[in-house]
Every structure is written in C-alpha cells, then in structure tokens.
Symmetry: C2
Subunit: 358 residues, 2 copies
C-alpha cells in the first residue's frame, strides 16, 4: 500500500510560535524549534499524505499571519507550527492525487515532516524547459501567480502605461516588473533598497529605471522618473512609497495593493497622507490575495511557463541552507531586504540526495 | 436681438481670492468682496450668455479648489472669482441653448452677474412633480448625481449589503443613504456630527442607525452597528472614520471615495493607518468625480426625479440669505457642519421678485 523509498527520521524539527510579536520577529524568542516524533504512514487517514519538506518559501506575508487580527487567514496560534508554503516530496500517500516520490507544493509549514489532507496539496502539472524544482515556489508558484494576477487583473497594464513597482527586486516585484514590460508598458520604474538591487533591476530585471528608496534624493528622483505620471502602481511596501505614488498618480491610475512590507513590523503604522488623490485622480486602489484566483491558476501558470521557456521572464533566487533551524533568521533577513528575488530555505536538497545515492 | 425683462444693476458683487489658505478659510481675509462694473448684453460674443445668479451652491469640494496642487480642476488663482456652481437666470443670450428668462445651472462663480460660453451652462430638462428650483443644485443637480454615481457605479450597492455613509446628513450623504435604502441594502448606517442630525437621519433620512462621530463611544458604537461588517463605505470625510471603516470592511468591500472633508482644512493630513486591510479584505477603493459621468446625467436625473416624485427620496436644504457677501461665512459654516442637507446661498429669489412685481 505505502510506497516509500526513503529512510525515516524518528523526529521532525518544527518551528513553533511562542511569543506573538508586536514589532519585528526576534530570532530565538518569537519562535522555538522543537523536535517532535515524526509522523509515520500508519498515522494517515484516507485522503492524507505524508510529506517531507524540501524547500520552504519565505514570504513577507508571513509577518501578517502572526498578528491576532481579522484577515484572509486566521492568525497562527501560540504553540502552532509557523505557516509556510513548501515544496515537499510525498513519503506515503492514501490519496489518488499524488503518490510516494511525487513532488508537490503544500502549506506544510516550517517543519520537516508532516501530514496533510490532499485538499491542501497541489501536484504541479509540469516543469517547462528551463524550469527547476524551486520555481514551484517562485516564478511558477504563488510568487509568480501573485505578480501575474496583480499586474494583469488589478493593474490591467496596457501598452503605453507608466508602471511603478515597489520592492521590485523582491520575489513578486521582480516578476511584476517583467510582466509589465512584456505587456508593453512604456516605462517601468522599480524601487529597491540597495544600489546592487537597482543595478540588477536595470541590467537583468527589465526595469527602465531603478531607484534606491534609501537615497536622500529619492523623492526628487521618483518625480523625475515619472514625467508622465503613474498609470499602474504595484505596491509591495506601503508607507511613504505608497504616499509618493499617490502624489504622482495619473488620472484613472490603478493601484495594485499586493503588500505593505514597510509597515508589517511597525508598531505605529503610517497611513498615506495623500489618500485624497484617490478622489481627485479617480484612482482605483484594489487589494487582492492570490488564492482568490485559484480557478485561473492553470491558465496563468501556462503563460508564465511559456514566458520562462522563451527567455522573456528571468528569475533570481536566494537559498538559505540550514533548514528549519534558520527559518526565523531567514524571515528577519527578508524584512531587512537582504535578498534579491525569491528567498527560500533548503530543508533537503533532492538532487544532492540523489547524487549521494548514485 | 436681446430679450431681457429685468432692470440692470450697474455693478456686480463678486468674491475674489486674495490669500490662499493653508488651513481653514478665514472670513474677511481669504477672500474679498469686490463691486465690479456689471457686464451688459453688448459684451456678449457669439455663443455667450449673460447670467444673473439666483442661488450659489456651497460644497465641501470648494476648499480643495483653493489648494495649489494638481487636481481634477486647476486651482482658483489669486485675484480670480471663487469658483461655484450656481442656478442662474439668463438675462441675455447669443446662444441657441437658452433664451433670456430661462433658468440654467452653470459654474458662474460667487458673483452676481457674469458672462459664460454656452459650453459651460446646462439647461435643465424639467422639474418633476414636487421639484423646485433649488433642487437643481441639490437632489437634481451635482449633489444628487454625485450620490447616484457613487452609490450605483462605484459602490455597486446590492440587496443585503451593509452600507455606511459618512457625513450622512450632508447634501450628498443624505441622498447616498436613501439610494442605498432604495437599492435594498440590509442595513444603512449614517454618521454625522450632531445628535440633531442623527435624529433627522433615522426619523426622516432613511438610515437604520445614525452615529454621532463626536460621541466618545463612537468607535464601539461603530463596531456594534456593523455586526456583519461593511460592504459599501461611502466616504465624504476621510480621516479617522475612513480608518475605522477599513477596520470593519467585509471581504470584497467597495469604498466609494467621494470626499474627505475632515482633512481639507488640515495642515497635517492624516492617512488611514489601516490601509493594509485593502489587501487582506480585498477592498476596492475607488475615487470619482461626478463630471466623469456627464454622458449619463440624463438617465441618472430621470431616475432621481422619479424617486423624488414617488416620495422615495427626501431632501433638506439650508438657504443662507445675504448673497455674495455671506459666501465666505457660508463656506466656513459648511466645514463646521452647521447644516443639514444642501447648503445654498440665495443671491436673488426669483419667486419673491415675481411676487413683488405682481
């Protein structure tokens, strides 16, 4: 019945919430790493899968999951395993949806081994030419889908638009910039937090102009970079950049409200003082959660895969080694802006393992 | 050629901007009243009309026209006549659009007599049963149209919705509340700045609940008044009420961004700290200017007139006597929230005049 080729670990490491943060995540304090007895195939009910985590996705949204407020998902509770998207390998299955050995994506959390119902896993249809496993959390996963639906459905980007993307060197932003480019935007401006990121954005990432928001002249440069004002603003940061985008909005601008990373750790949050421009400039400011477009994932993934295969879409990733034990440090790094592109934690590298068995 | 039945005044009073305000309008300082030689029929070019103002509309938007910023209309310049919507009578016409004696609406400004091109006047199609001249600036004018397009097109109010309208006893808010009611909203909550206004809202104005935002318990009462959260928020005030509405927004809520009167006079404007709820609750926050719907005015006015004739739509107005000389005081009263319903200045009462001639 159960087909699995891997030796079992007796224990599974997992990251549990112990102190709900009011400000930033504090490594070693907000969470604790626990070693729990690893679940085994005999624990599975009908429809369940036993999963081992290969890669964990680190996403800005994770900080929001720690706030005890009404949101699109319930907050992680004290004592619970930290929620996270993962690439997993199926160790054992009592579901027709995936078999032992299959690679799946799932909200398996920051843990090494877990059991999930098949309702909560996705078996990727394919990896396109040039695609790799980690793309399933990046350009061919929630990250790419978020950029896709945000730019296409909310931003409704059109030929000739001036598009600004904040956190443009981040996982979602970097895909958003390139989609705007592909869709014929006249001018794509990206903002980021270091000169290195800005160089990458212009040289590799498809931006016409990249601006370092830490530059003292950022406000002036932002104005100068948007001589025809802003038609689409894809926001990943909130705060003062959102405020500046409001000041530069064109009539009928679309504001794609995707994230607000500048505010997630703030104890005193900042609202955009220029909100009245929503009225005077007839701005449509609209939020979305990628899950809302579930029915359209296949179409979107097909398009993203095609662009990837054609070389129109490039991606960059930063992979942290060290597994569950480094996840809290990784989240902190995410909010400090250390990474270009997608930030992942490697829990188990399936290729190295394969090589070691050869 | 020129048909006019009224004696001419040799001078016309007009309100001119002299000091651009940074905070509130200061009566006697921000503007000055000037007496200028009144234009006469021989001043008309082809397509022009000579107009005498009967009523001046006082609108919260007027404060925004004084700020030297990019907006949907250019700012009023120092020395210019203050911009205002008016009901006028045509004294003389070189246009086929209206003849001497006709009643028209026009952006004639805060002045007694003026010349406008016929591109800038509207000849009302009709006054429905029960309608009166001043309705042309209220429920059957820009005010009613603003409420109509905001609630119908942006708010997309549906049967079963919970609707909150801020400044609900004001000119636009009071119509917005009633349109929500007519469209089948489950619950309509209005906010206002006095207990008298709140009583009027519940007893006459069609609201289920009315809340005084000056009440120290306002926050708690706002929560309690929206047990199923908020599907449509029609905002006329911005500031803290907008922030509270964000906190209470339902998934997929529509925020009709119509005005932000709480912030118009503020030197340090307040942005909504809960802006991140736009993302988590997938809010569509959209601004509009009634002029954008010009092509649809006839349809909307037909509907508003029908509701008025059927008694489904009630209106209240406050008319200040004293003409151009009291306009700056009137604007200040508007921002202090002194009026229920539409605030107008009477420059010349056509009915009294008619009676005096009998």
């Amino acid at each position: 019945m159960f087909h699995h080729t891997h030796g079992y670990k007796s224990h599974s490491l997992q990251l549990e919430l112990v102190h709900r943060p009011t400000g930033p995540i504090i490594p070693g304090h907000t969470f604790r790493v626990s070693a729990v007895p690893a679940p085994v195939p005999s624990d599975l009910n009908e429809g369940d899968l036993l999963l081992e985590t290969l890669y964990i996705s680190l996403d800005p949204a994770m900080r929001g999951w720690l706030d005890d407020v009404r949101s699109y998902v319930p907050p992680v509770q004290i004592g619970e395993v930290m929620r996270a998207f993962c690439i997993c390998r199926v160790l054992a299955s009592r579901s027709p949806k995936a078999a032992a050995g299959d690679i799946v994506t799932a909200m398996n959390g920051v843990r090494e081994i877990g059991i999930l119902s098949d309702k909560h896993i996705e078996k990727p249809a394919f990896l396109p030419p040039g695609g790799k496993t980690t793309d399933l959390l990046g350009v061919l996963g929630m990250t790419g889908l978020t950029a896709y639906f945000g730019m296409m459905k909310i931003g409704n980007v059109k030929r000739g638009d001036t598009v600004v993307v904040s956190a443009a060197a981040g996982a979602t932003g970097s895909v958003a910039v390139q989609i705007a480019r592909i869709q014929g935007a006249k001018r794509v401006v990206g903002t980021a937090g270091s000169d290195e990121k800005c160089r990458w954005l212009v040289e590799e990432g498809g931006a016409d102009v990249a601006l370092n928001y830490k530059d003292p002249e950022f406000r002036r440069k932002f104005r100068e970079a948007t001589p025809d004002f802003v038609d689409v603003y894809f926001d990943n940061v909130g705060g003062e950049q959102l405020n500046m985008a409001l000041a530069r909005a064109n009539r009928g601008a679309r504001f794609v409200m995707c994230g607000g990373i500048s505010q997630y750790n703030a104890e005193h949050k900042q609202g955009p003082k220029n909100i009245n421009n929503v009225i005077t400039m007839r701005i449509r400011m609209e939020g979305f959660i990628v899950f809302d477009y579930k029915d359209e994932y296949p179409t979107a993934l097909g398009q993203l895969a095609q662009w990837l295969a054609e070389g129109k879409l490039k991606r960059k990733e930063t992979i942290l080694k060290g597994g569950v034990r480094v996840a809290d440090e990784g989240m902190v790094q995410l909010y400090k802006g250390g990474n270009i592109g997608k930030l992942l934690i490697e829990v188990k590298n399936p290729d190295e393992e394969r090589q070691s068995r050869l």
